[in-house]
Amino acid sequence: MSDGPLIVQSDKTLLLEVDHPQSKECRAAIAPFAELERSPEHVHTYRITPLALWNARAAGHDAEQVVDALVRFSRYPVPHALLVDVADTMDRYGRLTLANHPVHGLTLTSTDKAVLEEVVRSKRVAPMLGARIDADSIVVHPSERGRLKQALLKVGWPAEDLAGYVDGQAHPIDLAQDDWHLRDYQQEAVDGFWAGGSGVVVLPCGAGKTLVGAAAMAEAKATTLILVTNTVSGRQWKRELIARTSLTEEEIGEYSGERKEIRPVTIATYQVITTRRKGEYRHLDLFDAQDWGLIVYDEVHLLPAPIFRLTADLQSRRRLGLTATLVREDGREDDVFSLIGPKRYDAPWRDIEAQGYIAPAECVEVRVSLDDEERMTYAVAEPEERYRIAATAQSKLPVIRRVLERHPEEQKLVIGAYLDQLDELGAALDAPVIQGSTTNKERERLFQAFRTGEIKTLVVSKVANFSIDLPEAAVAVQVSGTFGSRQEEAQRLGRVLRPKADGRQAHFYTVVSRDTLDSEYAAHRQRFLAEQGYAYTIVDAADLAGPGEVNGPDWVDEPAD
């Protein structure tokens, strides 16, 4: 029996013992075909899913490699049935290929007649297929390319798309790498994407996804459409592109609620594209406005369903998806796979963090005891009111103040979900509040002030969850949330993970009311963060030491390793 670092479980999860001498080697071997599910301190959990196996297959790994990795690193004998299943699943990818036939145009071909026969008979697939050319190829109308891929994945025979892409209208774009350089992993991500044609690059928040986008554009040297979650994030893209590439202000257009510019590089928000008037999408022309050579999807895990439908029609254009996580809370990972493309690059957070590109974070849960009156209010409240009452308890205020006092010199964010509470906090802490109704202009102004250090503390609602860039936020204090959603947690944590100028440690506080629903949700949060491998400590509000006290932070935080 070998003494490998890997234990293969019956439910196709893989447990990797981190402290094992072979663990690094093993991680590298299994990463292509297993999704990292949890990475707490000692044992990481990976999961082998069909999608992960197909991703691996798309990246050029074969079943033999997978089986070999499992058998070689496994501590215990691996059940034969599991290996057979893995090989069978992988074998399903690429039995069908979509390719351009010189005479018939787009065709679906298969080397396996039985498979072709099966999909032809499938109710879901049949309507998208055209005339049969011979025993193993069928004509497909180009407009069905995306929907066909979606349907084929659903019936378990994902097709390999080799039909190629249109080049689009050429436009010179170069990276202006005078005082900076692409990091190694960013270069690898771009190479992986370009070699694969289309696909998704998974990088943690703060790891420079925008630059990966910019580098991909420089590779394509063609007109580009960039889809982002909101206007602020769009402006952020624009700033980055002007700074890091040969593109000038005039070449970049903004297509949002406020402005409708179409330029060689156009940045559009999801919202404006999915706006409907009288039941019709008004801005679909955008996709045909230019002969786009590249389409970049920022935050793919938030891509709204209508855009999936549009994307199905854009299969002849190169597509780059950027995200911090492939996990979608609506479970449409398979649509991302079939419509945007397989995963082309993935770097585990902890690794990038170890390389110093994102700041290490310390997560602290501060528990506040409610006073008797609040407890009574909570006890008699209607079930749907309970969380709000617990999360917005007055007793939290002095504790939040105390937490902020621990970091007098840092840039601090207070994040909450309830507007009343935020306003109250803003007044009590004498800090500006940014929420949904704050105008973009006002936001920009406050962000700028925050960046320069004019403002030390900002109180923000969930608008801050997505894609705004606050490079110097080193402390985040979370006071209420939307029921412990994992995605929200990842986003909020991302707020403090941008690399600090001096490499200081980031702090992520959560203030919760003891013995209430709030602390129950905190348990989800705690689990998520611990699973991500962050140190998580629980402190009673009473024990929260101030700066300079025993167990408290020093006046100046020491740089992290």
Binding site: D11, T13, L15, E41, V43, T45, P79, Q526, I538
Partner: protein, 752 residues
Amino acid sequence: MSPDQPATLAAWLRTRTDEQLGGLLVARPDVARPAPSDVVGLATRLAVPVSVDRALDELDAATLQVLDAVLLSPTDGVPRDELPGLLPDVPAEVVDAAVGTLTTRALLWGDADLHAPEPVRRAVRYPAGLGRRAVDLRVPLPGDVPGTLSGLDPEERGVLERLSADRPVGHLPDSTGGALTPARRLLQAGLLARIDAVNVELPREIGLALRGDRPLGPPRLRPEPEITRRDPAVVDRQAAGAALEVIGRVTDVLTALEEEPAGLLRSGGLGVRDQKRLAKELKIGEGDVAFLVELAHAAGLLDVGGAQRDEWLPTRGYDAWREQDLPDRWAVLAEGWLTSVRLISLVGQRDVAGKAVNVLSPDTVRQTAPALRRSALAVLAEFPPGEGLTSPELVTLLRWRTPRRADRLSPVPDLLAEAGRLGIAVGGVLSTGGRGLLTGGEDAAGDGMRGLLPEPVDHVLAQPDLSLIAPGPLVAELAGTLAVVADVESSGGATVYRVSDGSIRRALDAGWSAADLHDFFTRASRTPVPQALEYLVDDVARQHGRLRVGAIECYVRSDDHGLVSQVLSDRRTANAELRRLAPGVLVSGLPADEVLSVLRTAGYAPAGESSGGTVLTRPKAPSRAAGRRPGSTAPSGPRRMAPEDVAATVREIRAGDAALAARRTEPVRQVPGVTTASTLELLSRAVREGLPIWLGYIDAQGSGSQRVVQPVSLVGGFLQGFDEGRGESRTFAVHRITSVALVESEDTPAPS
């Protein structure tokens, strides 16, 4: 036939040597027990159809073909040296070996000439796949058979060729349309014989004519299967993987059933709802649940239990099993599977009524299952380690080996798949453990697996996300404790446990204290206990037990707290067993009446209170002892007999007596369950001539009796007659008659 040749089977048997007779008894053990009294007895037993069938069933196709050659020859007795000529395509050594096998088993007898005993002829219904003769089928053959055959159209010819191949009987297709199907045209032409409403048979003569110069059909030589080759070390590792998996899964299933047992269906078996529940709980398929539950049952780890015996529960054997080391646990499962009379693959299939067969249902019992498993695996065991057969190849070979049992081979692919899941075989190649199981039973099986399965570990790794990871199979004690304090999240080589507030609460309910839990986690975890886990334990412990629930019989309350305290401290009320629950409230485990009377005796003036709080004014009931409940004692001594029972018993005794006296002739004795010709002959003679007979009879309850019976009819294995001793007309199953003799006296014994 030369004069020195024995004329009968018995005579031939007499000429056999002791070794040869010994060989016969070994090959056909069913005739050896109980020992036959003489050669004639042996010959009689050899002629029993059941025994002949059993012997034929064990022959392979080549041997049966040689037997067919003898059976088909027009004369009884085929000279040994002519046999190879009848089978021109079969190598001589195969023919010799087959003759040896057949004569050893006395399925053929004779030295120079080979004879087939009559029961053997009867047992082989379609020798060489040919039908009965036209005369037996009562069809007139066309005068010119070859001529008629050559005049057939290709469709008709096709039908005939099909019927002349292996099986001369075919199903008549429905002819709803007006046109005659080829088969019906052949029927009209007299080339086929109708044997019942839907089946036709091809007469032997036609079959032979179609076969031409190969009357016995193509030679049925041993097929050369394609051998699967694998590295034995890899096979063993993969088998160990399967073994580990199956042990873990069976444990999971039994743990789940321990927590919530599955109900026993009225028809036996385990309900579909429970099956679905288990599948959901363990995140496995319903088919997997069926396999694992059946396996646990076969290994004696799961059975019907519970107070009403209406639940499927882990057995005591399960507790012992858990303590065993992994190879032994595996061996128990493997042995249980090998010897089980239940065919797991039948679960979920629909029976004739369209109802799916439940897990553990009695409908899956097939007495032939163990033999089938063993014979299939025995074939694999003939190959050296690292070699074996895929399931289709195995079926082909088995079909040749036991063609008469070919209809029973359908479960073989499923059985081989099950063996694969158990780690007995991997892809048709036996593992060392599987080989051990076949040759040396449970112990050898365990030894074959030893060293391949991991040693149990005695620690877990506690992680900040509140998971505990056991990096291997756990020692039983630790596993037992963890089952209380944590929930299993994923199992396999390792086990992932998750501690949640629910699981901690469960531990506290089970009597653990927070300190115990802290101590346990510190001891069990090899990594430092994460702070979050300590907090969780303390949080839950703080909340635990804030509400208390207990049972009491009555309470004493008063708004006057001083009075209540006085009652409590009064020595005279000690008998009321009062204790203070809260200020102003005392409780007692005694009934209200008793407490009232104690308080009254002590000089207080209590009033009874109803549940609504109103005062009860009830006269005090005179005190009575609890006493024993009527009817609770079991009646002692033997049950008294009713008068009719007495009469019946006396009649029974008299009848037996009379029958014994009437028995003048030697009774025909017979082994119960086997009807010999002479019994039947005697019985039918008695029916024909109306003679009373003396019967030794064993009824359905197994009690023996002796009777004198006036027989009326003998039909379908049942004798009907008037039992003179008991004065009743009744039916006797012939197979229950132990002895019979004619009553040869003028006066029948009178009933007394």
